[in-house]
C-alpha cells in the first residue's frame, strides 16, 4: 500500500547573519562561521557554529569542543563584574566592584612595585594567545618575571626543534600529508593541531600510507594506526636511537643531505685536557672548519664548491686533533648499547619490531623517494633541477616532551629525520612560516630589574651558551623568580610557570609582591601538587600577612583559581572580543602559506566584562609605560583593537601581516586603519601563499629567504645549518668540568656532565631513578580527551555529559594482581601522595602503564557546578600524585621535577603503585572544601533553540 508522506519544511530559515571569526575552544584556532538568529528577547543569539571551509587550518571541519561553543558562550560560570576578595583566599567570597575601582587598585599595586623593584611583579599568562603583546607589556613594565604556559606544556618540543633545525613539531611545522609514504606519531593524544592532524590522518588513510603510533596507550590516533608500538613511558629516546643504530648499520642515511644542510662534516676538537675539547674547530672568522675531500685541506664550511668529508681525524694548524662530528655520531650510535636487543627490555618494544620498522622506514625513504619537478637554488648559489624528497614523516608531542629526558628525546627524533634527509623535503616534515627560524635568528633571553625602566629586550629567548644565562653577579643566583635561564634549567626558552608559585612561596630566590596571572588554573589542574599549591597561595606569615601578598587574576569563568585571587579582572568570552593570532606569536600558518587571523566581537557582551588585552592597555597607560603612552602622557591606544591596528614592533611590522599600508601590502607596510575590517571581510584571517620555488628546503632555499625578507618574516638571509651536534650543550659541560666560566654550583656539575651531551642521548627519567622500582613499579599518565579542553570544558552543558567522570584505566594483569574489577575503587599511590579512584580494566595499553583523562576532576563548587557534580565526586586529578619537586636525593637540595636542560615540567615521569580500596564510599579522594562560585548561574534545564523550533 502506498501513502503520501507528511509534508515537512525541508528548507527552513537557518540564520539571519553569519559572522566569521576564530574559535578559541582550544589553541588550534580554527576558522568558524557563527550563525546568528534573533532570540526571544529580540537580540541576536547564536543559532549554530560551523567550520569555515576557506580557513587554512580546519578547512570547514569543526571538532566537538568547537561545536559546543554555544554552551561555552552561555556558560553559567561566566564572570560578570570585577571582584574584590572579602573572604579568605580559596573560599571564593568576593564583592563585585566597578572597573574604575578595580583598575585603580591594580595600578596602585603595580605602580608601587615598578618604582621600587620591578621584579617583585611576577606576570605569568598561562594559555595566552597574545604573548607577543603581554610579553611586550611586561618588558615595558621592567620585570624580568614574565612567561606563559610553555614551560609546563611543551617547551621541550620547541627548544629541541629550534636548537636542532630551526623548526619544531610544536606548531612550527607539519608532516607533508599529501606526499609522505610512512608516518610515525609519538606521544600524541590530541595536540594543539587538533583538526589538522585528523584531516591529515584521513588523507594518509585514503592514500593507504602506513601509520605507526608510538604510545603506551592505544586510544585515539593510536587506535586507527596500522601498527602500534606500545612503548614504556620515558623510553622513546632509546627506541629512536636504536632505529638510528639500525639505519646507520645498513648505511640507510642521506649523506648528500647531511653534507649540504647539517653540521655532520664540522670538525670537533679532540683534545681531552684542553678547554675547547668537544667544541667546533673554527677559523679566525669563527666559521666552522671542515676537511675538503678533494684537496684534503681544512676549509670553512661556508666556502662554496667544496666537498666536505664526513670522516677521518685531522690535525689542526695548532696541532690539536679534530674529527668530523658525523664520525663521533656514527661511533656513538653504532655501539652495542643501542642495538635492538639491548634496548628491547627497557623500552618494552621487541627487537624484531625495531628491526622491521627500521627497514620499513629505510624503504620508504630511499626506495620510494618523491620527486617534485621544481627547480630551485640553494643559498650557496647552487641550482637544483628537482626537489628530491624522502617521504618519511614524524610527529611528536607531549608524550615526548613531558619527561625529564624530553629535550634529548626530541632531539633524537630530529636526528633520525635529518639522517633520512626528510626535513622540509617533499614527503617529510615541513616548516610552517615564519619558520625555519634557527637559534641565531631568535632573540636571547633578557633580564633586568631597574626601577621605572623597561627591559632591554624580550624576556624569553634562546641562549647561545652559558654567557647568556640570567644570573646575578655571583654567577649562581637566578635573576628570575621561576629560575629560568639559571643552572637549574639553562635553556628554559619558555620559562618555568609551574615553579612560580612554589618559588614565590619559598621566597626563593626572593619574595615577590604581586602575582599577576592570566588564563591559567594554577590552583588546580594546571599545577603539580595542587593541594600544596592551594596551601602556598593561602598561607600567611607570622604577621598574618599572606606570604604571596597580592594576587591579581584574569579569567572569564569561575575557575578554581579565581577563588585564590584578591582582585579578579573578568574577561569576555572568545566571541565577544578582539584578538590577533599574530606572526609575532604562535601563528596559524600552514607549510604552503603564511597565515594570521583575528577574533572580533561577533556578539556584544551582556555583562560588565572587558577583554583582558584591552584592560592591559588601559593599565599600561595608567602606569605610563613606555610605548603605551604618548609624549604628553595620554594613552597611546584606545583598546586592543587599536593596538592591533597601529602598534609597530619594527617599522612596517605590526601584529597583523595582511592588508597593510593602503591594504595592498602584506607583511611589511604602514598601519592600515581599515585592516581589521579587511580581515573581517575575508572571513577573519589572511593567507598568503609561498612561491612554488620556495615550498621545500626552506632552510637552504634562496627563493624562500628572499621571500621571507620581503614578507618581513626576517630582516636578512639566515644561515640554517642543522645542528646534529649541539655545541651550546658542550659549552655547559665545559663549565661543569671547570674548564669554562661561569662554573655551576657543585651540586649541579654531575647532572650537567651527564645530561648535556652534545649528541642526543637517553637517560632514565628522574622520578624513576629517585624511587625504588619495587615500591612504585608502574607509570601513570594523563591524556587529552578530544571532546574536553583542559579544565575549561566542564562548565559546558554538552561536553560535560560526554566526560563528566574519568576512570583510571589499568592493565588487566595489574588488576588481577590487585583483585580489581571494573567499577571497583583503588588507591593510586606515588612517593608524594595517594588518590582514590574508580577503576576500569584495559588490555590495549602498555602493561606497566595506568592512564586517565586529563583535568576532568573539579573542585567542589567551582565552575558554578552543583557541589555534588560527578566531576567533583567521581572525577579526579592525577596532579595530586605529582610533585613539582623530585624525591629528596639526600644532597639537601630539592630538584625541580623538570627537564634539566629546558625546565619542561616532567608530568609523565610519575611512578605509582596500585592497591584495592576497601574503605567504603564511592567518592574519589582527596576531597577539598566546597568553594563558592561567582558566575552568572545556569538554568534548571536547557532546551536551547526552542524559540526557533516549531
Amino acid at each position: 500500500m502506498t501513502h503520501p508522506d507528511p509534508q515537512i519544511d525541508t528548507s527552513p530559515h537557518v540564520s539571519d547573519e553569519i559572522r566569521k571569526t576564530t574559535c578559541y575552544m582550544c589553541a588550534c584556532r580554527c576558522g568558524i562561521n557563527v550563525h546568528l538568529r534573533t532570540g526571544e528577547d529580540g537580540k541576536p543569539k547564536i543559532r549554530y557554529i560551523e567550520g569555515n571551509r576557506d580557513h587554512p587550518i580546519n578547512k570547514g571541519v569543526l571538532c566537538a569542543k568547537g561545536s559546543a561553543g554555544i554552551m561555552q558562550h552561555y556558560s553559567p560560570a561566566r564572570l560578570s563584574k570585577p571582584l574584590k576578595r572579602v573572604g579568605e583566599r580559596g573560599e571564593g567570597k568576593f564583592e563585585p566592584i566597578e572597573w574604575d575601582e578595580a583598575l585603580e587598585l591594580a595600578t596602585e599595586w603595580l605602580g608601587e612595585v615598578r618604582c621600587k623593584e620591578p621584579r617583585k611583579l611576577a606576570f605569568f599568562t598561562g594559555r595566552d594567545q597574545s604573548q607577543s603583546f603581554t610579553g611586550w607589556w611586561a618588558q615595558q613594565f621592567g620585570t624580568p618575571n614574565f612567561a606563559a604556559h610553555g614551560g609546563f606544556c611543551s617547551v621541550n618540543m620547541a627548544a629541541g626543534g629550534i636548537y636542532t633545525f630551526g623548526g619544531a613539531f610544536w606548531e612550527f611545522g607539519a608532516p607533508d600529508w599529501n606526499k609522505t609514504e610512512f608516518f610515525m606519531i609519538f606521544g600524541v593524544a590530541e595536540d594543539h593541531d587538533s583538526n589538522p592532524i585528523k584531516l591529515g590522518l584521513s588523507k594518509l588513510k585514503s592514500r593507504g600510507v602506513k601509520v605507526v603510533g608510538v604510545n603506551p596507550v592505544r586510544t585515539g590516533y593510536n587506535a586507527i594506526a596500522d601498527e602500534w608500538v606500545g612503548i614504556t613511558p620515558g623510553t622513546d629516546g632509546l627506541f629512536v636511537l636504536s632505529l638510528v643504530h639500525e639505519l646507520l648499520k645498513a648505511g640507510h642515511v642521506d649523506l648528500d643531505y647531511l653534507i649540504r644542510y647539517t653540521n655532520a662534516p664540522w670538525l670537533v676538537i679532540d683534545d681531552p685536557d684542553g678547554d675547547d675539547h668537544g667544541l667546533f674547530a673554527r677559523d679566525k672568522n669563527g666559521d666552522a672548519l671542515v676537511v675538503d675531500r678533494e684537496s684534503g685541506d681544512l676549509v670553512a664550511y661556508s666556502r662554496h664548491g667544496i666537498k666536505p668529508h664526513l670522516k677521518g681525524e685531522v690535525t689542526l694548524p695548532d696541532g690539536r686533533k679534530a674529527r668530523p662530528s658525523f664520525e663521533l655520531l656514527a661511533e656513538k650510535y653504532l655501539s652495542h648499547e643501542y642495538a635492538p636487543e639491548a634496548v628491547s627490555e627497557t623500552t618494552g618494544v621487541s627487537a624484531n619490531q625495531i628491526r622491521r620498522l627500521a627497514q620499513e622506514i629505510a624503504d620508504a625513504a630511499f626506495k620510494s623517494e618523491v620527486v617534485v619537478d621544481q627547480p630551485w637554488t640553494d643559498m650557496k648559489g647552487e641550482r637544483h633541477e628537482k626537489m628530491i624528497g624522502r617521504p618519511v614523516a614524524f610527529h611528536a608531542m607531549r608524550g615526548i616532551s613531558a619527561h625529564s629526558n624530553g629535550f634529548q628525546t626530541c632531539r633524537s627524533i630530529h636526528l633520525l629525520q635529518i639522517l633520512l634527509g626528510s626535513i622540509d623535503s617533499p614527503g617529510g616534515f615541513r616548516f610552517k612560516p615564519p619558520y625555519p627560524r634557527p637559534v641565531q635568528a631568535q632573540p636571547k633571553p633578557h633580564g633586568g630589574n631597574k626601577p621605572d625602566q623597561p627591559l632591554a629586550g624580550p624576556h624569553l629567548g634562546f641562549l647561545r651558551g652559558p654567557e647568556d644565562l640570567l644570573l646575578e653577579d655571583d654567577g649562581l643566583t637566578p635573576q628570575r623568580i621561576d629560575k629560568a635561564f639559571s643552572w637549574d634549567a639553562p635553556m628554559s626558552a619558555h620559562g618555568l610557570m609551574h615553579m612560580v608559585i612554589s618559588n614565590a612561596h619559598a621566597q626563593e630566590p626572593y619574595g615577590i609582591d604581586v602575582l599577576f596571572m592570566y588564563m591559567a588554573n594554577m590552583s588546580w589542574n594546571s599545577s603539580m601538587n595542587s593541594a600544596g599549591v592551594m596551601k602556598m597561595l593561602s598561607e600567611k606569615d607570622e604577621n598574618g600577612e599572606y606570604v604571596i601578598p597580592k594576587i591579581i587574576y584574569s579569567d572569564a569563568y569561575s575557575s578554581e583559581m579565581v577563588a585564590y585571587a584578591d582582585l579578579v579582572l573578568p574577561d569576555t568570552t572568545y566571541l565577544e572580543r578582539h584578538d590577533a593570532i599574530s606572526l609575532l606569536d604562535r601563528p596559524i600558518s600552514e607549510p604552503e602559506a603564511v597565515c594570521d587571523a583575528i577574533r572580533w566581537p561577533v556578539i556584544e557582551p551582556d555583562r560588565d566584562v572587558r577583554g583582558f588585552q584591552s584592560v592591559l592597555i588601559d593599565l599600561g597607560a595608567r602606569l605610563k609605560l613606555p610605548g603605551l603612552v604618548n609624549q604628553d602622557g595620554t594613552p597611546k591606544f584606545k583598546d586592543y583593537a587599536d593596538y592591533i591596528t597601529n602598534h609597530q614592533r619594527k617599522p612596517g611590522i605590526g601584529p597583523l601581516a595582511g592588508w597593510r599600508g593602503n591594504g595592498d601590502q602584506t607583511g611589511r607596510g604602514e598601519a592600515n586603519p581599515q585592516q581589521i575590517a579587511r580581515y573581517i571581510e575575508n572571513g577573519g584571517f589572511s593567507e598568503t601563499h609561498v612561491p612554488e620555488e620556495a615550498l621545500y628546503f626552506k632552510h637552504a632555499n634562496k627563493a624562500w629567504q628572499d621571500w621571507a625578507v620581503e614578507m618581513g618574516l626576517q630582516d636578512g638571509p639566515v644561515e640554517n645549518v642543522f645542528q646534529l651536534y649541539l655545541e651550546p650543550l658542550r659549552k655547559f659541560q665545559l663549565c661543569a668540568e671547570g674548564k669554562a666560566k661561569p662554573v655551576p654550583p657543585d651540586s649541579h656539575k654531575e647532572r650537567i656532565k651527564a645530561c648535556f651531551d652534545p649528541l642526543p642521548i637517553w637517560y632514565a627519567p628522574f622520578e624513576g631513578t629517585g624511587i625504588t622500582e619495587s615500591e612504585f613499579p608502574y607509570h601513570a599518565l594523563t591524556q587529552r580527551p578530544a571532546a574536553m579542553y583542559n579544565s575549561w570544558g566542564s562548565q559546558n552543558a554538552w561536553l560535560r555529559q560526554i566526560h563528566g567522570t574519568n576512570p583510571m584505566y589499568i592493565p588487566s594483569e595489574i588488576c588481577d594482581e590487585a583483585g580489581l574489577e571494573d567499577d571497583d575503587w583503588a588507591w593510586i599511590i606515588s612517593y608524594h601522595g595517594k588518590i582514590k579512584v574508580p577503576v576500569k580494566r584495559m588490555n590495549a595499553v602498555n602493561q606497566k602503564t595506568l592512564w586517565t583523562w586529563n583535568a576532568i576532576g573539579k573542585r567542589k563548587g567551582a565552575w558554578n557546578l552543583a557541589p555534588d557534580a560527578p566531576e567533583a565526586t567521581k572525577g579526579f586529578l592525577l596532579n595530586h600524585l605529582i610533585n613539582e619537586l623530585l624525591p629528596p636525593k639526600g644532597d639537601g637540595l630539592r630538584w625541580s621535577n623538570s627537564d634539566p636542560i629546558t625546565g619542561q615540567a616532567a608530568w609523565f615521569d610519575l611512578r605509582v603503585r596500585v592497591e584495592k580500596a576497601d574503605t567504603p564510599g564511592d567518592v574519589s579522594e582527596p576531597v577539598f572544601g566546597a568553594q563558592k562560585s561567582s558566575g552568572v548561574g545556569g538554568n534548571g534545564s536547557l532546551s536551547y533553540g526552542k524559540e526557533w523550533t516549531k
Binding site: Q801, I802, H803, K840
Partner: protein
Amino acid sequence: MHPAISVIFFTVTSGAGFGLIFLLGLGVPMPEGPTAAFLASALAIGLSVAGLVSSTFHLGHAERAWRAFSQWQSSWLSREGVLSVITLSLFGLYALIWLMTGERNGLLGFVSAAFAALTIYATAMIYAQLKTVPAWHTWLTPLCYLGFGVSSGFLLALSFGEMDRNFAVMALLINAGFWFVKDRWWRRLDSVGFSETGSDVGTATGLGKIGKVKLLEKPHSGENYLTKEMVHQIGRKHAEKLRLIAKFAGGLVPALVLIAIILFGAPGYIAVVGFFSIMVGLFAERWLFFAEAKHAVSLYY
C-alpha cells in the same frame, strides 16, 4: 527493561478486568438481582478502565492519546486501544441489559468475551512482538497474559459465592496450569539470552570476527534515556526472591483458598482472599517481566 509502575498496574489490573468480562460474558453463574449484576459489571469495567487510565500515565503526551487508535492495521498498541474500547462498549451494553432486564444476553456476552480475550492478547503482543527483547518474544507471553487475566478474573467471579465447586476446580486448574506455563517462560528466559537471534556484542558491532569485544568507554560518562529505560540491571538473588513471592502469592495461596472451597465447602466469597493474593503475586510477576528482560541495546552498553 525499566519496570514502570504505571505499566505494571496497567497490565495486571486491566488483565483482571478483561478476565472478569471474559467470564461474565461466557455467562458464569452470578447471584440474582441488580446488585450483583451492578457490582460484577462495575468491577469488570472499573478494573479494565483503571488499567487503561494508568497506562496513559507513562505517556509523554497523554492529551494526544486518542491518536493511538489510528494505526490498528500495523500496531499492536493501537489494536489494544481499539479492542479495549470495543470490548468495553459491547460489555457495557451487555451489562446495561443485564441491569435493566436481569437477562444476560448470551450472544452479546459471548462476543464481548471473545473481544475481552483478544484485548488481553493484544496487550501481550505489544511486548511479545519485540524481537529486541528475546525474553518476551514468544507465544508463551500472550498465553501467560491470558491465563493470568482469566485466573484473577475467575477468583473475583468466585467471590460472588454463586458458583459450585466445579467452577472452583476449573479455577484451580487454570491458575495452577498457567503458573506452570509461567515457570516455562522463566526457564526459557534464563536460558534464551540472545541465543535465538544469535546476537552478541560481536554482531552488534560487527567486530566479533576480529576478537573478543568489550565496551571500554560508554558514549557519555553519565546515564541516558537508553540506559535508564533499557539497560536496567537486576541482581540474580533479588529476582529469585521475587519469583518465589510471585508463585506463593499468585499460585499457592489462591490454590489453598480454592482447595478449601472444593474440599471443605468453604463459602465461595473467601475466594476474594485468593483474588487479592493473586494480584500481589501478579504485581511481582509483572515487575520481573520487565526487570528481568534484556534489550538488544544492552549489547552496546
